[in-house]
Symmetry: C2
Subunit: 305 residues, 2 copies
């Protein structure tokens, strides 16, 4: 089986390095960061932190160098997915492409360029600390499932989930991957931009009654948009938010969007709050709080120009 | 007639220096900034910019030094008003005290300490550039009127308005000063914190359709709270907002709250969006957008600790 990770940043590297430890999977990494690609080719892809892994794999910044693949795993930032899949789609002409990106709407982006799309949500996280070296911060589950407009059989998705699981990245192939995806996007959209706008860690956002109430307002709008699609959330995002606020979990965690804002990097707002609001508009579900937060974060981004 | 300006910062200094040019008004300034007080006593209070004025007046940081006054004009930041009027109330035992502070709810603060309160709204603005020296940036009207729970006759307010007008600070005494006050607070609350949260100038906020729509949402909630009190706005805040966005007016203006946030200073959010939301709760008018903005700005303030 040949798998290509498209966008081999922090999350992509977790998949690529772990899958490369399997004897029966050939792994390719496609990434535009040439120093990262060069380091991977020379020294392998190294994970440190929550797991110590050294994966030997092929890597390239040249889409034409990619061979035909059975599976793709797209792990770019959501706003780079369209360009990445447009460049690499030819490698998946006979394969299927999964997204493990944040937010909602990414499957639709992939489906504009490849025939077989796999819905996906992943929880593991890390950060690139040097070319070829990624710190693995958080372990967690990955869920794959059919993309409903052109659904694959679950059996066609299982080989990918099975390979990930055997490689140390527990994954499952399910008939409906939307509940996990919406639970995650609601969690992220209700907390991430609040940290980004205020500068507060997850725990400090949650301990302020007024901000916690805003978080609940955002969760409620997200739940309404999920419900309008017939999605039954498997876990209440509220419980996850309270759990993460515990001092022994992620009280002091700076949301990734806060890190983006502090570094002046474009955020994934269009795929989090903006994505929920877009689905809401299509379904006739009002999302005034997500609209407000989206407009404010996009205003922050505009202030850098 | 003896007038004491309580809080002789930028706006207070505009009143104090101009009133001090009148032969028939004795002016006192009460301020906790000792270097400012010392400079005023030594060299007078100097205005530069929109008007060149040198006012000779008494100044003190010692509330016990204040003589009985006919009128007070409280011009502190809104969050300092309670302490300032508590300290100086004895000087107004037989007088009346006007507020020219930003936001709503300030009259209630004064009324907890003095018997006769005058509702007030002022548009002139400036900034303290050195001890004893204030730059006068913007000229404009001041409106005084009765504080409804214990209303003074308009005739009892006219001497103060008349003195301001004669001194070059046009002011009027009206039967209902609430329309002008609510027009101003709605304008400020709909625009100031959006600039503060995004870092954008007034003009750039207004040219982004998503943020301009958020501004309108905030204006609409403010209008509903005003209407529930029977207040008929004299001018639509929307028109003022569009006017201010013009390149020849205030396109490039950084909202005072943005200046506060950039300097890590407490903002007046509790008296702007927080004030509108508080009146809304008392009147049963929902203000979810003002609640959201208030929570976010208070989160920003909390992030500095």
């Amino acid at each position: 089986m040949r798998v290509c990770v498209v966008g081999c940043g922090a999350v992509g590297s977790l998949f690529a390095a772990n899958l490369a430890t399997l004897g029966d999977v050939e792994v390719w990494a496609f990434d535009l960061d040439k120093s990262h690609v060069t380091a991977i080719k020379k020294n392998g892809l190294q994970l440190i932190g929550a797991g110590e892994v050294l994966g030997r794999l092929e890597a390239t910044s040249d889409p034409d160098a990619l061979p035909p693949c059975d599976f793709g795993i797209v792990a770019t930032k959501a706003m780079h997915a369209a360009a990445a899949i447009e460049a690499t789609a030819h490698a998946f002409a006979d394969g299927a492409v999964a997204t493990v990106m944040n937010g909602v709407g990414n499957e639709e982006t992939l489906a504009a360029h490849v025939e077989r799309v796999i819905r996906g949500t992943t929880f593991p996280a890390g950060k690139l600390v040097a070319p070829g070296v990624v710190q693995w911060d958080v372990k967690g589950e990955t869920t794959f499932g059919p993309f409903e407009p052109r659904p694959l059989e679950v059996a066609a998705i299982e080989p990918l989930a099975d390979a990930c699981t055997r490689a140390g990245m527990p994954a499952s192939a399910v008939a409906d991957a939307r509940p996990g995806q919406w639970r995650k996007v609601i969690f992220n959209a209700a907390t991430n931009p609040i940290g980004a706008l205020t500068g507060l860690t997850h725990g400090r956002v949650c301990e302020r009654a007024d901000l916690r109430s805003l978080v609940t307002g955002l969760v409620d709008e997200g739940k309404a948009v999920a419900a309008a699609q017939g999605i039954e959330l498997d876990t209440d995002p509220e419980a996850l938010i309270d759990h993460a606020a515990r001092p022994d979990v992620a009280y002091g965690h700076k949301a990734s969007m806060l890190q983006d804002v502090e570094s002046g990097r474009p955020t994934e707002i269009d795929y989090l709050n903006g994505g929920i609001a877009r689905f809401g508009r299509e379904l006739g579900v009002p999302t005034p709080l997500h609209d407000t937060i989206t407009a404010l974060i996009k205003g922050v981004e505009a202030s850098w120009q």
